[in-house]
């Protein structure tokens, strides 16, 4: 009979080695679809590495892709810490992006040192507002936030399409549904010439650091952890559970909104309805792989971005379907999930004693 028991003290190599090992296993498993598609496996892996580390450009592209994932990953990690299941980062991202173009695309024409912070703050506020609604519905009416945030993603996306054909539509776009571009002085500064990586990355790293510190050291973080680990006991101890939940909802939404700001004002310059290829959902994956630790989010965002960019570039180099990249990312997720389990639990086999010997 198979039994599952928690490990009393997970060894050090377990907590560090197991995730790495699971990632390696996931990549090894990717050989199966590769082989089925008729690719040369060794070449494929070589191309995958090259796709991330082969050049400064490749590496910078990986960082570029990791940036929004850090924001959405942080959004999920903080909310999940409080057991607030915000599945709506995708929608909140779009709200942040909409706010960024609404204010940054010429509504006000002020110098960059004012405009950039304004865009960032309003973008975060918009995302926060987007999460405030489900938080309110949850705390007031007990409506399950998983479902409300999930559905709001659709509503917001449709709303974005509506705005892109309406109020936010760029008159210069010849009818194509997209917003006017953010003014040049409103754009987040680039980090390297000729590369797309931008200072949104720095913002994400700083925020991850602050979040890590606040969670561990502040009263706010204490309350958040208490509410997440045992809401009943927290309430009993005089902690305002709904207030804490609401606070973290605002923060989580704000972080997701920043993902939108960073994509629009750091990367593309304007908003289209296909700004995000599911960054909000991938952020959940990122957060879970990170064990909901903010610093861990940075690492796992880099990992997921590497896998995606590497596999994507490999699929192009060796001519297999580009859906491979998503496939490898999903297999990595599943493997790392199982790996995390192995690190925390021990699976033992015991003989099913058939009576006495």
């Amino acid at each position: 009979m198979i039994r599952i028991e928690p490990r009393t003290a997970p060894g050090r190599w377990m907590t560090l080695g197991v995730p790495v090992l699971s990632a390696v296993i996931a990549l090894a498993l990717a050989a199966i679809p590769l082989a089925l598609a008729g690719a040369d496996i060794t070449v494929a892996y070589g191309e995958m590495v090259k796709g991330v580390f082969g050049s400064v450009f490749a590496f910078s592209e990986m960082l570029t892709r990791a940036t929004p994932l850090m924001f959405t990953g942080l959004a999920a990690a903080l909310a999940f810490r409080a057991k607030l299941w915000n599945i709506g980062a995708e929608g909140q991202l779009y709200l942040g992006a909409m706010a960024a173009v609404a204010i940054g695309a010429g509504a006000v024409d002020i110098p960059g040192i004012f405009l950039v912070p304004l865009i960032v703050i309003l973008g975060a506020a918009a995302g926060a507002a987007g999460m405030a609604v489900p938080a309110l519905l949850k705390t007031r009416f007990g409506a399950d936030e998983v479902v409300t945030t999930l559905l709001l993603n659709f509503i917001i996306l449709i709303f974005v399409q509506m705005m892109l054909e309406g109020a936010l539509k760029d008159p210069m776009s010849l009818g194509w549904p997209q917003s006017a571009p953010v003014l040049d002085q409103g754009m987040l500064p680039q980090l390297m010439p000729r590369m797309r990586v931008h200072s949104g990355l720095i913002l994400a790293l700083v925020l991850a650091g602050i979040a890590q510190f606040m969670l561990a050291r502040s009263v706010w973080g204490f309350r958040l952890r208490a509410v997440g680990e045992n809401a009943a006991a927290a309430r009993h101890a005089g902690i305002g559970v709904n207030r804490s939940l609401f606070g973290v909802a605002i923060l989580s939404g704000g972080l997701a909104g920043l993902a939108g700001v960073s994509e629009v004002a750091g990367l593309k310059g304007y908003l289209t309805a296909d700004l995000s290829p599911g960054f909000g959902y991938t952020g959940i994956v990122v957060a879970m792989l990170a064990g909901l630790s903010p610093v861990g989010v940075v690492i796992s965002a880099l990992f997921i971005a590497s896998v995606f960019v590497g596999a994507d570039s490999m699929s192009r180099a060796i001519g297999v379907s580009s859906y491979l990249a998503d496939l490898v990312v999903s297999m990595s997720l599943l493997c790392v999930l199982i790996g995390g389990f192995v690190a925390r639990y021990r699976i033992t086999r015991t003989k099913t004693a058939e009576g006495v010997a």
Partner: protein, 505 residues
């Protein structure tokens, strides 16, 4: 006697990590016998029974069970299904009922073929009715279990076992939630069934019923069996010494003159949709230097009363005064600030955040305190110093102040909560089932602390389902039944028991 042996546990051992819950425990049981299994908290009683029933896989040892014909046969270990078909029934320490299903469905669950297209509901009902008629254990069969009282649920649990024609019945603390009368009825019923050959193992912390109803007593200490004794040869002192290894300290209670009121509830009503946990026009006063005991069977409004005083639930009407000041907007924080210390009924669920450290749990009620935080940042060294000091003073033992509170044993968790409550110099202490499930040593410690607080000028509101506890500690006693409070002047068990059952004498 050997021919009538129905069960033998042979050198069963079980460890959880570093804890040895059972160390080569052997035990025999005979036809028609009632065996009481005793021991302190954590002695390993439940673990032993869980191995018998197949919930836990023993690390060593074996079990033999008599077949209906009387031959001893080895039992397949680790499978409840095997135990059930060998004629073993178990009533668990914690209810194992699906609350969304009727009692009938809970009882028949698992005994019908899963993939049959039709069910024989009439047959099942008739059979349950038969068991109920035979044993006198009656429960409504068609109401969802979630709507039943605790006593009714307990009976459903027992019916579950008997429905499957159990020849060996294990009862793990079956009377913890029953009135004395209900408990007596239960044991009378069981006594009648043993006449038909049923063998019973029951676990209890209540020595009175052990002495009254068992034939034989086995005692566990730290996972090993330390002795067996025929009940006719035993008395409370003998048993206590076997369990603890020494005589237990007797709590001393000095008479005191009550002071000014510290808590006054006037006309408090709480309405709940389920009607089970409501309060109707409750009035009470707790004075300084006084312990007011609230006796009653669980589910009669104790939770509502406790949550009102804790600030968790706003009453629908009525007023609350603490130390003479009316509390207009009660919530947990206001109540703490007003000087109400709360010992919650469910320590794991409401008392601690198990995933946070002991040190953190010790300051969780005073996060605004400048000693704990400066400018919103936690003052870690002060927290550590505080935790060290309290652990010392209240003898909180465990893997250290930075370990997760979940790792503490039940008694130590209770001490942690006591430390938290007493350190804030509470004017009123709400103690809701403070010693439920604690062993003698830990229970004595809690009692001593409550009396100490009383001596220090605090008022104590003691809610308990254990009449012995109330009689031992309270200066005044009120009984709660169906959401209403009545004062009792008599200290007679019978009188109070009848009031608890709702009889007006």
């Amino acid at each position: 006697m050997t021919e009538s042996k129905v069960l033998s546990l042979n050198a069963l051992s079980k460890r959880f990590g570093s804890v040895v819950a059972n160390d080569a425990v052997s035990l025999d049981l005979h036809r028609g016998e009632v065996l009481a299994l005793l021991g302190e908290n954590g002695a390993g009683k439940t673990t032993l029974m869980n191995m018998l029933f197949g919930h836990y896989m023993p690390d060593g040892g074996s079990i033999d069970v008599a077949s209906p014909k009387g031959e001893m046969q080895p039992l397949t270990l680790g499978h409840p299904q095997a135990a059930l078909s060998a004629g073993i029934g178990m009533v668990h320490q914690h209810f194992t009922l699906a609350e969304n299903l009727s009692a009938l469905n809970n009882i028949t669950l698992g005994s019908e073929p899963l993939f049959a297209l039709r069910r024989d509901r009439a047959g099942a009902r008739a059979k349950v009715q038969g068991v109920m008629d035979r044993t006198g254990l009656v429960a409504p069969l068609d109401t969802p279990v979630g709507k039943l009282s605790v006593g009714e649920r307990q009976r459903v649990e027992i019916l579950k076992a008997l429905y499957r024609d159990a020849r060996i019945l294990v009862l793990d603390e079956p009377t913890a939630v029953l009135t004395p009368q209900e408990a007596d009825t239960l044991f009378e019923n069981i006594g009648a069934m043993t006449g038909d050959g049923l063998a019973v193992i029951f676990i209890s912390h209540k020595l009175r019923e052990v002495l009254a109803f068992s034939h034989r007593i086995a005692v566990l200490r730290h996972g090993t069996k330390v002795g067996e004794i025929a009940t006719s040869d035993a008395d409370e002192r003998v048993i206590a010494r076997m369990m603890v290894g020494e005589d237990t300290p007797v709590t001393q209670r000095d008479a005191m003159t009550p002071g000014a009121p510290v808590l006054t509830l006037s006309g408090i009503s709480v309405r709940n949709p389920s009607a089970r946990d409501s309060l109707t026009d409750v009035n009470l006063t707790v004075q300084a230097h006084e312990i007011l005991g609230i006796a009653g069977v669980s589910g009669n409004g104790q939770s509502a009363l406790a949550s009102v005083i804790s600030g968790l639930r706003r009453p629908d009407s009525g007023s609350i005064q603490v130390d003479g000041d009316e509390i207009l907007h009660p919530d947990p924080k206001t109540m703490i600030k007003a000087g109400v210390g709360r010992i919650p009924e469910d320590r794991h669920h409401d008392g601690i955040v198990g995933a946070m450290s002991v040190a953190e749990n010790m300051i969780i009620e005073r996060l605004d305190d400048p000693e704990v935080q400066t400018n919103g940042l936690l003052n870690r060294s002060a927290m550590a110093a505080n935790a060290d000091r309290l652990s010392q003073a209240y003898d909180v033992r465990g893997p250290g102040i930075n370990a997760r509170a979940r790792l503490l044993s039940g008694g130590n968790i209770q001490k942690l909560i006591l430390a938290r409550v007493f350190e804030q110099g509470a004017r009123l202490i709400l103690a809701n089932q403070p010693i439920r499930g604690l062993d003698m040593g830990a229970a004595a410690e809690v009692s001593r602390r409550l009396l100490e607080a009383r001596a220090g000028g605090a008022g104590v509101l003691l809610i308990s389902e254990d009449l012995d506890e109330i009689l031992g500690l309270a200066d005044r006693i009120m009984v709660i039944h169906d959401g209403q409070l009545t004062e009792v002047t008599s200290r007679n068990r019978e009188d109070i028991g009848l009031k608890m059952a709702g009889e007006h004498t």
